[in-house]
Amino acid sequence: MNEMILAKLAGNFKDAILSSNEFRGELTVVVKKEEIVPVCRFLRDDPELKFDLLSDLCGADMLVSEMDRGPEVFDHDYENDFTKILEQPQSRFQVIYNICSLEKKTRLRLKVLLTESEPHVETVTSVWPGAEWLERETFDMLGIIFDGHPDLRRIYMADSFEYFPLRKDFPLMGIPGSLPLPGTAAAPQEGENRHE
C-alpha cells in the first residue's frame, strides 16, 4: 500500500515531494509547503486512496542548540541520526498531518518544513474543515501562521499572551509576569483580558 501511495504521489506531484521514509510501517512524506493543499486535495479525492479523515495535525519545533544536545549517554550515533529527523537543518518548524482513510484503513503522514523567519503555510481547512481547531492549536502553541484560515485565534492561552509555549526556547517554568492573574496589580484592566 505504501509503495502505491508513493508511486501515485510521485506520478502526480513530481517536484512537490521532497523526501519520504518509513519507520515502524508508518509512511512519512515531506511535501513542499507551497504544494500542501493540492497534495491534500488529491489524497482526499483519489478513488484509490481516499484519505477522507484528518486524524491529527500538529507542529513541532526542531530547534537544536549545542547546550540542548547534552552528553551522549549510550553509544548512539546521535549527530547522524538527528539530522535525519531535521530533514533540512535550516528549517526550524514542521507541520505534521496525520491522515487516514476510513474505507482503505490506511494511514499516512505528511510534513511541511518551515523556516523561522517565515513560519507561514496555507491552511488545509478547505480540504478538511476539521483542521480549523487543530491549526488554531498549532498557532497558539508554536506561532505557525496558517494563511487563509477562517478564524486564527489562540485557543488555549489567553488572547493577551505574547509567547508561544511549545517552542523550545520558551522555558518550562514559564515567563514570570507573562500571564497576569486576576486580582493582582499586574492584571489587565476590565475588558482587556479574554474573560470579559
Binding site: F23, S55, Y78, N98, G130, Y156, E196
Partner: protein
Amino acid sequence: MSEQKLTAAGGSEPRSALLQALLDKDTMLEFDDPLGSDMVLNMGPQHPATHGVLRLLIRLDGETVVRAIPDVGYLHRGYEKLAESCSYHEFIPHTDRLDYLSPISNNVAYVLAVEKLLGIEAPPRAQYIRVIGAELSRLASHLVWFGSMAMDVGALTLLLWTFREREKIQDIWDILTGVRFTTSYTRIGGLAQDMSDECAQMTKEFIDQLPKNLDECESLLNKNRIFIGRCDGIGILSKEDAIAMSASGPVLRGSGVARDIRRDEPYLVYPELDFDVITFDGCDSLSRYYVRLNEMRESIKIIRQALEKMPKGPVSAQEPKRVLPKKERIYTKMEELIHDFMLINFGINPPVGEVYHAIESSKGELGFYIISDGRGHPWRLKIRSPSFMNIQALPIMLKGGMISDIVAIIGSVDPVMGEADK
C-alpha cells in the same frame, strides 16, 4: 440588528476576540428585529450541564440558536510541554489526568505508542489484562455519561443507579491497580502488577450482574416519552459533516459511520475477541445515546471473553534495557539494580523516529504522536484527544436548535475537558 447592542451585552470595550468571532461568522441577521429578541448568551465555564469547564458563547434569536462558539482552555495544563522534560516512564501518571473518567484507557494508549516506537510488545497475559482494563474504563466512562446525560434532561434517579455500578468498577480498580481513580497501571512493556485471581473473580461477578442492572436503567429511559422527545431529532450531525470535522467514537458511529479502531486497525488482542461495531444512522442525540448504550453490552462481551482466554504467564516483557525491573529484584540482584539506575537516570533511549498510535477510547480516537531524538525523553509528544475534536463539531449540532436542547446535545457528545484541554 445593531452591533452596538451586542457590544453593550458583552460589556467590554474593546470587544474581545471571542465576541468578535461570534460576530464575524455567518451571523448577520437579515430579518427585522423590532422586538429585540436577538441576544448573546454566555454559558459556562461554570455550568453544571457543560460537564466541566466548557464555555459556550451562544447567539440567540428568541429561543433559537443562531450560532454557538465553544471556548476551551480553562483546564489547559500544558501536558505536551511537560512531556518534553519527562522521561517516558514519568509521563504515565500524567495520562491519568487526560480523560479522568477512563484512566486505564489513557495509560494503555500511551504505552502502546511508546512500545511501537521501541519495537517491543507486552506478553499475552499483559495484553489481555490491558484489554480488560480498557473495557472497564469504557464501561465506567459510559456509566457516568449515562447518568449525567439523563440528569441533563431531567431524569435524576438514573444518576444514582449508574454511579452505584461505577463504584463497583472502582472497587475492581482498587484491587487491580492499588488506587480507585488515577490508576497509572501500565508500564512500558507490561503492567505494574499482575491481576490476582480474586480480582478476576470480582470482575466476573461484576459483568455477570451488570446486564440486569443495565436493563433496569434502560427501562427508565427507552420508553420514556419525555426523554425520547427531548433527544430525538436534535443535534443533527450528518455523516459527511462528522467525517469532515474529524469526529470520532460514538459521535461518528451515531452518524452512521462504522469506524472503530479496535476493528479497523487492530491492536492488543482485539482480533481474537468477538464483538460488534455499533452504528446508528439517526445522526441525532438519540442515536449517540443508543450507540453508547449498546457499546456497554459489547464491552461486557469483550471482558467475558478476555477473562476466559487470558493465559497464565509474566506481565512484563523480557527487555531488561527497556522495561523497569521489579522492586524486590532491584534490592537483591546486581543486574537489575544497574538497569534500574540507567532507566531512571537516563531513560529508555528509543531509536530516532516518529510514531503515531491511536486506540479507540471511550470518547473516540485517542492517539499519541511521538517524535524521538534518541534520548530518554520525547522531543515532541502530541496528544490527539477525541473530546477536543468532538467539541469542534458542536456548533454544527447546535445551530438551529432550541436553547433547551443545548444541554441534551452537549450531553450526547460527552466531552471531558481534562482531555480536550490537555
